[in-house]
Amino acid sequence: MASVQDTKSSRGIRGVRGRGIALHAVLVIGLLLSAFPFYWAIIMSTHTSTEIFSYPPKLLPGSHFLQNVRSLFDNVDFFGSMVNSLLVACAVTFLVLLFDSLAAFVFAKFEFPGRRALFVVLMAIFMVPTQMAIIPQFVIMAKVGWIGSMTALIVPAAANAFGIFWMRQYMRSAIHDELLDASKIDGASFLRQYWHVALPVVRPGLAFLGIFTFMAQWNDYAWPLIALTNPDNVTLQVALSQLNGVHGTTDYGMVMTGALLALVPLLIVFAIGARQIIGDLGKGAIR
């Protein structure tokens, strides 16, 4: 940032301040554009359909929010779907953290026959598009009897190539070899090394992967739409889509209320981990 400061002397304080204001003005416009759809959803969730369909459009909050919440709960099992979403997102996050970090630890710090080949396979899997596997997955799940249950969402997502790759990159630099070797001399077993040496130092990395996994799982839509064949037992995103999909009779106030309430758990998780997510995302990309 030294270069920005230096310009002061050459261009004069006034010019810099003017440019600074113009800069922030552009950034604020961008910020408003980012935020506007959220504001719009809030406005719509507080109005009746008649108010929403009128012209000019309402730009300030109305007083119909609670009625919209009530008709939302009447029309869809909102809490049941939310419990399903929470169950799936939490279970997947836990399993991904466990399995991915274990595998990443092995690939980052140990040598064994076949290591290179296995890692190449892992990277190749990273590239395989998911819809290739959807039909057979559906057929396999139907055979095992998981179709229609949350198990169909949790098990296939319990470990992933992205997480292993990402954690391996992280662990390679974060865990020092001297520390591992010292613990080996002390006679620590593999699991002990994993638990007492590796995990404590990669906690920030785990936080990133965990939040990332939770959010991705919470928002997942295509596979749950296919796999959850019982319309009364679905995740939140599928329930929202059902609300929106009723042909010709969309009650926008109610649907917007649902969309907003479905965002709440996600926003809580994001607010907790925003710094981690935004910081590490950049690091991962330029690595």
Partner: protein, 320 residues
């Protein structure tokens, strides 16, 4: 720290591992294989076997229930001449281009601005990132109302300035513009943060030197920032291509109630029917699992071809 030299020995030992007899190797390394096994087992069950099965399936006729019937290459032959598949490729590419190029441009501008604005940087980054963590289903519902013909905000604006209304979700171009706008909105902030990370690796002295030589901001951007940002640009372009060509949720949620018989129709004239939407329609609406598998392989091929093109484009310039 006198022990350190001794501790650095393990790599030497490791280099000798091929000499270890296989059976001994297994016993020695079993815990490592056990630790990586969950991923490979899951991949075997839900990745490799399904992909193999899907290849097998694409050579058969199957409705998902009855018995399979050998079809040879006939489904691929049909795919090549299937005008619906080709038009879904066209739709996907148009939507991808309409979304990606404005998105990359806006993301770069945002990143450059953020890189020079010292104050409130974290507030901006948080706000710009928010659209990306929101679920596509919720976003598509909101954008569906923003682009609605009768009460949508876009048409209200057009009406306010005295222009004709547009039936956004009823015309081929309107549908594509609406989907692309949604995608752009969702991904600008995300990619701006990635570009910002790339920008922060550019040494400040370089800008200093450029200014000494009398380069203006535009010249600096094209001569210094852009070339040094190329690896980041490649990353963004490749990720946008792979995800953009497989877009599904945006169009599905936005247009699902425009047709009575299929939630995967992609709107009037199927103008928003992307490749993956077509795959879902063939497979789960028509129960044509065999042809669906062939469509999936067709999509895979298209994604691979465009990834290679992308890569070549950015690599080629590197060598010049």
């Amino acid at each position: 720290m006198a022990t350190v030299p001794a501790l650095e020995k393990p790599p030497v030992v490791l280099a000798e591992t091929p000499a270890v007899r296989p059976r001994q190797g297994w016993r020695k390394y079993w815990h490592l294989y056990a630790a990586i096994s969950p991923f490979y087992l899951l991949f075997l069950a839900f990745g490799l076997i399904p992909v193999g099965f899907s290849l097998y399936l694409s050579f058969h006729r199957w409705d998902g229930l009855g018995s399979m019937e050998w079809a040879g290459l006939s489904q691929y032959r049909y795919l090549v001449s299937d005008s619906d598949f080709w038009s879904s490729i066209g739709n996907t590419l148009i939507i991808w281009a309409l979304a990606t190029f404005p998105m990359i441009f806006l993301a770069m501008v945002t990143a450059v601005l953020l890189n020079s604005a010292v104050r409130f940087k974290n507030v901006y980054r948080f706000a710009y990132f928010l659209p990306n963590v929101t679920s596509v289903v919720a976003i598509a519902i909101v954008f569906g109302s923003v682009f609605s013909t009768n009460f949508g905000l876009v048409n209200a604006l057009l009406r306010a300035v005295g222009l004709d209304q547009v039936a956004w979700l009823n015309t081929p171009w309107g549908i594509k513009v609406a989907i692309a706008t949604l995608m752009t909105w969702q991904w600008v902030g995300y990619n701006a943060i990635i570009f910002l990370a790339g920008l922060q690796t550019v040494p400040g002295e370089l800008y200093e030197a450029a200014r000494m030589d009398g380069a203006g901001p535009v010249q600096t951007f094209f001569r210094i920032t852009l070339p040094l940002l190329r690896p980041t640009l490649l990353f963004v372009l490749v990720v946008s291509t792979v995800t953009g060509l497989q877009s599904f949720t945006e169009a599905q949620v936005l247009l699902q109630n425009t047709s009575n018989d299929s939630t995967f129709s992609g709107g009037p004239d199927h103008a928003g029917r992307t490749m993956v939407l077509y795959f879902f329609q063939q497979t789960f609406d028509n129960n044509d699992f065999g042809y669906g598998a062939a469509v999936a392989w067709g999509i895979f091929l298209v994604v691979v071809i465009f990834s290679i093109i992308n890569w070549r484009l950015v690599q080629r310039r590197d060598e010049d």
